[in-house]
Symmetry: C2
Subunit: 364 residues, 2 copies
């Protein structure tokens, strides 16, 4: 049987640096565990625009559809700020999400023991935190039509459309319930059903799927504004949170920041199963391209490395290897190794991007 | 000249209890400062539905349009959960906002010195925090058409529309810049211009108004997801934040929770000047109707009292009296008086709703 295939899209800013460390780790698994992957690389975001005048070339899109998993670094940078909306680096990422139909975006917000002091929240509020935000990623106001800016009378009007179909809600709800069964068995669904009809439909469909297919999972509902509050007040009350594309964008960023470990947090974006049974999948760190520190060996590669761990788990059914990689990360943190973003209250040993990668390999 | 007029809409849950304390304070200003108001009272929310079958009677709406200021307690309760969308208590509140055209919702997030330990955030992150969120309140996805749930093929589809006109953005931007000039002279505008065209228009209009009318104020822009993060990471970086209706809903709740004083935070919703020069105005606490503790004398009346202080300042140009009332609140907190919601790390003297009101009057 052919090796599983991975397309690497390192992107812009610190993307290529952090991805280099992932490539070292992939090699390590090949050399030491006989796990071989067919790797290919291509461009996305600003670098794709520089090369081809588009943030995602059609050929790259086609490749992404064929591989078993895409690993993405980060996109964007000030150089591209003035570009037209349709040419911005972000459009490359949004096109991948949409055309691969990656409807379920898994964003774990985990507080690493070694880093519990780094949070702006009190230690007892975040220590041991382990929640999973499941964000719908292919619909809602990100993609709804009509949209755009037009003129009415003598003024401009900006329009976007929040639109959800029953089946779009049902499939992401199922993925949240499935995940919950493997974790704390609790799902909290967030919307603004008190204000938005799309939120009413969201709540109704989640409730129906729950009753019919997952009555064993504990389900609660919360308005998204209260959700934002509760995440700050007492995040450990949650296990799995399921929410729409836009609320998920804000709530997962707030949740990520709670942990004090933004440079640490991975994500997986999953779609429907392909012919080989693997889901369409893209893995990327939650952090951005950090143009201010790009190319200086300062970036923290851990979020990107943990994204690869999620790939091992969700695309390749290699849960043991994923656990091992995650344990190696915990170990180097416990040993006090710190990239610049982690130089905080506890001192620690400063290391570069590649020293961090090497240490994780050593810990494996 | 006639006395200024105030319409009191105490609403549901703890609304009537906290409003009673405000009424005592209004009497105190009459007896001791010769400040007399023409008070009238009416129903909004669930109690209006119980009496009239609608969460806001047309007569009440008409009265609200005529008075100098509306004071609102809180609306909603589990009793009304099963009601149709159009009859829910919230619709009464939303109708007031919309028909009075209260486009500028001021939500201060302030950390009271006496309560800095109550936050889930570390004390140094929140001590002295004083930011003002200016939320657009009459447009965006809350009111945009088309909206609703319909059937397409064999499934339901939920739709809402985010819609902003140039003039809607301009007027709330102006109100944020005006406020900033009286505070730290900094405005941060938040949207998702990287994803939503309505966000691009928002950013463009705010930038234009700034350049033409408020070049002396420092302006920055931030994506709303990053805004949610930055509020958790380092809220003191902000002075005034201006944002749309839906982002404002989430971000102001997160900001309120940072202070650990949700039962303490007031809000003002302001519209255009009336013939007498006063703005259309509604004042209400940020907290909800808390049905679980209603009628037990446990509610904290401070948010409602501070909302009246905002009325003194923004509707009646009585800044000195507002300062005085705010100082009285600070004093009773410093003295250790605590309603149930404030019984936290520092012990303190437990008091009931009306004891808290009496103590504030004594401090005046
Ligand atoms: C870069 C941007 C388009 C993106 C989003 O808004 O989804 C990012 O914020 C994210 O959360 O992945
Ligand atoms: C009660 C609800 C309709 C309201 C809103 O969403 O605006 C509330 O959350 C608020 O922030 O005032």
């Amino acid at each position: 049987m052919a090796n599983p295939s991975i397309l690497i899209l390192a992107g812009d800013g610190i993307g290529p640096e952090v991805m280099s460390e992932v490539k070292k780790i992939i090699s390590w698994f090949g050399d030491n565990r006989g796990l071989h992957f067919d790797l290919s690389e291509d461009l996305v975001g600003g670098c794709a625009y520089d090369a081809h005048g588009t943030p995602l070339h059609d050929d790259t899109m086609a490749k992404a559809q064929e591989v078993d998993a895409v690993l993405l670094g980060a996109v964007g940078g000030p150089k591209y700020d003035a570009l037209d909306f349709s040419l911005k680096p972000e459009r490359g990422l949004l096109r991948l999400r949409k055309e691969m139909d990656l409807f379920s975006n898994l964003r774990p917000a985990q507080c690493f023991d070694a880093l519990a002091d780094f949070s702006s929240l009190k230690k007892d509020i975040v220590a041991g935190l382990d929640i999973m935000i499941v964000r719908e990623l292919t619909s809602g106001v990100y993609f709804g039509e009509p949209r755009g800016i037009h003129t009415e009378g003598n003024e401009r009007v900006g329009i976007n459309t929040q639109r959800y179909t029953e089946s779009e809600i049902a499939r992401v709800a199922r993925s949240a319930f499935e995940l919950a069964r493997k974790r704390g068995n609790k799902v909290c669904s967030m919307e603004k059903a008190n204000v938005m009809e799309s939120g009413i439909l969201w709540r109704d469909v989640v409730t129906e799927i729950h009753a019919k297919e997952y009555p064993d999972v504990e389900l609660s509902h919360m308005y998204a504004d209260n959700g934002a509050m509760q995440l700050v007040r007492n995040p450990k009350q949650f296990d799995v949170i399921v929410t729409d594309n836009l609320f998920g964008d804000l709530l997962s960023d707030a949740a990520a920041m709670l942990t004090g470990s933004l440079g640490m947090l991975p994500s997986a974006s999953l779609g429907a199963p392909m012919a080989n049974g693997r889901p369409k999948a893209l893995y990327e760190p939650v952090h951005g391209s950090a143009p201010d520190i790009a190319g200086q060996g300062k970036a923290n590669p851990i979020a990107c490395i943990l994204s690869f761990a999620m790939a091992l788990r969700y695309s390749f059914d290699l849960g043991t290897e994923a656990d091992q990689l995650e344990a190696a990360v915990e170990k180097v943190l416990a040993d006090g190794l710190r990239t610049g973003d982690l130089m905080g209250p506890d001192g620690g040993t400063p290391v570069s991007t590649s020293e961090m990668g090497d240490a994780i390999i050593a810990a494996l």
